[in-house]
Amino acid sequence: MKGTATTLTRVLGFCALVTLAGTVVLGLWTTPPDVVQGELVRLIYIHPAIATMGEVAFGVTALASLLYLWRRTRDRRWDLLAGVSAEVGVVFASLTLVTGSIWGRPTWGVWWTWDARLTTTALLLALFLGYLALRRVPGEAGSRATRSAIGGLVAAVDVPIVHYSVNWWRTLHQGSTLLRRKPLIHGVQLEAMLLGFVAFALIYAWLVVHRYRVEDLATRLEDRGFETALAERRAEADELLEVVS
């Protein structure tokens, strides 16, 4: 095995690349400019998809934390998955803010505005950055996993509260374009947007699988290194004892 790739991830990665290329071609060239938004509508083919995958990633973290804490399903794999998904989620959430900002500048005239969805996303990002910082604190594996799982849940429980409080506070973001009775966009635009969702979902899956394997390898190597060091020290002690006796 050369790295963390397997046939599954190669197929997954290939599909992700193809759909992503399709999204880019459809989004940047095939689709017409919008009547209202002009060229800027092209960001709609990636921005909501990235944002959704960020939210899905944090949902996976919360679920995996819960499964780890529940004694009957306790397994270090859930802990690994929670951490890995949060990390990928942080990447997606950051990109959500960046692409949103890039769209907001020409549309609203400002890079940042205290709009409900923007603020919620920013707080979500801060919550999970804290979670990742908590995970990075070294410690005994089991207690670190429990600590992280509870920390992840505390953060996840906060998400709906943040959502409602910020929503009451401000609302300026345009409503969801897709999830309406009659979607606002049609034809090739809708196809581009849906393809974007597929592409970023595949990218998320690919990243999580690879990152999971990397994390798994890293912890195993760490354990092994610890055991080797322990065995060496024991051998030294035995030698010393022999010399003494």
């Binding site: 989004g27 890039i102 690919w206 990397v214």
Partner: protein
């Protein structure tokens, strides 16, 4: 092409590519370390 649109696509794709590249490189490095560890200590 609109500059904002190009910047948005460029930032998103390059960030994801960089992250994916880092993950793959780290995986290769760890796999190599693991092979070495399994081969045992070099005499």
């Amino acid at each position: 092409m609109n500059g904002y649109v190009a910047a948005g696509y460029l930032v998103s794709l390059s960030t994801l590519a960089a992250y994916a590249g880092w993950v793959v490189r780290r995986g290769r490095q760890l796999a190599r370390d693991k092979r070495r560890a399994e081969a045992g200590p070099t005499p």
